[in-house]
């Protein structure tokens, strides 16, 4: 059992090596799983800003996991000051289940409290061998798709809604054709990964599929990462407006005496410098100057909102994604 005691000793030693130089203030930001690098960069910038403004040093702690899981943790007592998520519904639930934030949280900051946004795009292999240009190309028999599971991932739900938005534009009121299109599309999916990054890995590392459907930010990241054009980003002309909402968690921030700091943390996301930083991570932003700078990177598109496609999130969840809903019907064995 010697190793055991060694474990205790080592464990104790390592636990005690945590930084002794404590900051004046601490802030806990709960975020979605793939935002680590983004907030690692932003936190440095914000800490500097806060020190210039108030003279206080601030240490920002980060928690990253799937945003539904994060919401559950916050409701069950994870004392986070702010939530920076990639799904509106996961913030809504903080009000509905936890009463931790007011109902009108989205109105507290500009652009529905979404400092940045993205849309759904395609990643294809070198030279675009299957010539994928638009949503119609995805339902061809010879095209295999990889996408995150709409049942387990917000990313997957956005992809589903983007395709639905396109189908509605194309077929108008013909519900039968829309359904057929959606069923065909889902039928071409080779792998439904449980999360967005899992889908990327399946497509890139395992070489499965012809098209990866995911966030434009993710698609651009991958296309950039491989410098020799191994992957090509294709952004369809019609897609979905994917918002990345943020909120102060009023009750906990108050308990932690952090309301002012937390508010500033979120507001600061809208400043020009921060928006430039966000654009650097391939997210679309609202700041006009930054928009002009990055116009060639982010072509203008028709972006449909959730209200246009499904009449709001609540409706979308009920009609499409709940068990027995539209998605389940479309995926029924054929």
């Amino acid at each position: 059992m010697k190793h055991l005691f060694k474990g205790i000793a080592l464990g104790a030693a390592l636990l005690s090596t945590q930084p002794v130089l404590a900051a004046d203030r601490e802030l806990l930001n709960t975020s979605y799983d793939i935002a680590r690098e983004l907030f690692a960069a932003y936190n440095v910038e914000f800490a500097q800003h806060w020190q210039e403004k108030t003279g206080e040093t601030v240490e920002i702690k980060q928690s990253h996991a799937g945003s539904s899981k994060q919401a559950q943790a916050i409701i069950q007592g994870l004392k986070a000051d702010v939530a920076t998520f990639n799904q509106v519904t996961d913030i809504d639930i903080l009000h509905e289940r936890g009463k931790l934030i007011p109902k009108d949280w989205a109105q507290r900051l500009p652009n529905n409290s979404s400092p940045y946004y993205s849309t759904m795009a395609f990643l294809v292999r070198e030279g675009n061998p299957k010539n994928i240009q638009n949503w119609d190309d995805l339902i061809r028999e010879d095209v295999q798709l990889v996408m995150p599971n709409p049942k387990t991932s917000g990313n997957g739900r956005y992809t589903y809604l983007a395709a639905l938005g396109y189908a509605q534009e194309r077929f108008g009121d013909d519900q039968e054709k829309i359904d057929q299109f959606m069923a065909d599309l889902l039928g071409q999916v080779r792998v439904f990964d449980s999360g967005g990054r899992g889908a990327t890995t399946t497509f890139v590392e395992r070489g499965i599929g012809d098209v990866l459907l995911t966030f434009e930010s993710e698609v651009l990241n991958i296309a950039d990462r491989f410098e020799n054009g191994e992957y090509v980003a294709v952004t369809p002309k019609v897609s979905f407006l994917a918002e990345f909402p943020v909120t102060l968690i009023d009750e906990y921030a108050e308990q932690n005496n952090n309301s002012e700091l937390a508010n500033e943390y979120l507001k600061h996301l809208y400043t020009e410098d921060s928006q430039r930083l966000l654009a650097g991570f391939n997210y679309r932003v609202h700041d006009e100057t930054v928009k002009a700078e990055t116009a060639d990177r982010f072509p203008a598109l028709t972006l449909l909102s959730i209200d246009q496609i499904a009449g709001g999130w609540k409706n979308a969840m009920n009609t499409h994604f709940s068990s027995g809903g539209k998605l389940d019907q479309l995926q029924r064995r054929r």
């Binding site: 055991l4 390592l14 945590q18 793939i34 943790a73 069950q76 990054r197 890995t201």
Partner: protein
């Protein structure tokens, strides 16, 4: 030392083909996957591996993981031994049910296990609400991580001991009682030497699983970097960062911790065998 086979399966061709088959399957199913982990961890060179391992957050994660294992193992050691003693040395109503109940953690998906703890001890849980009125927070802090790890690993020691102690019977211990030895002395001098190996196996398995548990821990941890992030959660985080080399570096660390534990076990076994060498070995191996 005779050349003719005294026990079955000792003929050279049987032995060779069985060993060959076992080696081949082990290589394919167990060794190569581990090799892949180390190969991926090293795919960007040793210096990258070193910087990945020495990363501040990785070190925090290692510390927390070892700390959790160090608390979990003794708890389950005591529980497992007590349980095995009670169900193999005594007969009482509900005994079979008790043996079955300790398998609950095998039957419950770890994610569900984590959730059940969360629902009970979380802010909205009936126990958690009561605790938080005394300002005690168990979830999203190390106590919660230890609790679910204890849950997930609780069957291992007991599961190792029960079949063995059942098979051995209690005649020796009963003789000890007749000779007037105290309970503790009987356990130490008679039972413990008999069950030592199974006990060590149990501890090794408990430790291995405690170090590697992911699903249940991820639900109750809160995933705060540098505070409640265990090594398996750190692997997940790096993987989500598309830092595959870094993720595999941490995974390799986990594998290395496991291998070190197992080498420690093998070393103890080897020393044991050497001391026993003077006296004629009792059957087998």
């Amino acid at each position: 030392m005779a050349t003719h086979s005294r026990r079955i399966g000792d003929q050279p061709w049987v032995r060779r083909s069985l060993i060959g088959l076992a080696l081949m399957l082990t290589l394919i199913l167990l060794v190569i996957p581990v090799v892949v982990i180390f190969a991926q961890a090293l795919s960007a060179g040793w210096s990258t591996l070193a910087s990945n391992v020495m990363d501040e957050y990785t070190l925090d994660a290692i510390g927390l993981t070892l700390f959790v294992a160090a608390l979990t193992v003794p708890l389950n050691l005591v529980f497992g031994t007590a349980l095995a003693w009670s169900v193999t040395r005594f007969r009482f109503p509900g005994r079979k049910l008790l043996i079955t109940l300790i398998d609950i953690p095998f039957a419950v998906s770890p994610v569900v296990a984590g959730l059940l703890y969360l629902l009970l001890y979380g802010r909205n849980g009936w126990l958690g609400g009561w605790l938080s009125s005394y300002d005690i927070q168990l979830m999203f802090a190390w106590p919660g991580i230890v609790m679910v790890t204890v849950f997930v690993t609780s069957p291992f020691v007991a599961r190792e001991l029960i079949p063995l102690m059942q098979q051995q019977g209690s005649e020796e211990e009963e003789a000890g009682v007749v000779l007037g030895a105290s309970g503790w002395r009987i356990f130490r001098k008679i039972t413990l030497p008999n069950i030592k190996w199974a006990l060590i196996y149990g501890v090794v398995l408990t430790n291995a699983r405690a170090v590697g548990e992911f699903g249940a821990v991820s639900v109750v941890s809160g995933n705060v970097r540098g505070e409640t992030n265990t090594l398996p959660l750190h692997v997940e985080l790096l993987y989500q960062d598309y830092n595959i080399v870094g993720a595999f570096a941490s995974a390799a660390l986990l594998a290395a911790i496991a291998i070190l534990t197992l080498i420690a076990k093998a070393f103890v076994e080897w020393r044991q065998a050497r001391t026993e060498h003077a006296t004629p070995a009792e059957g087998g191996v």
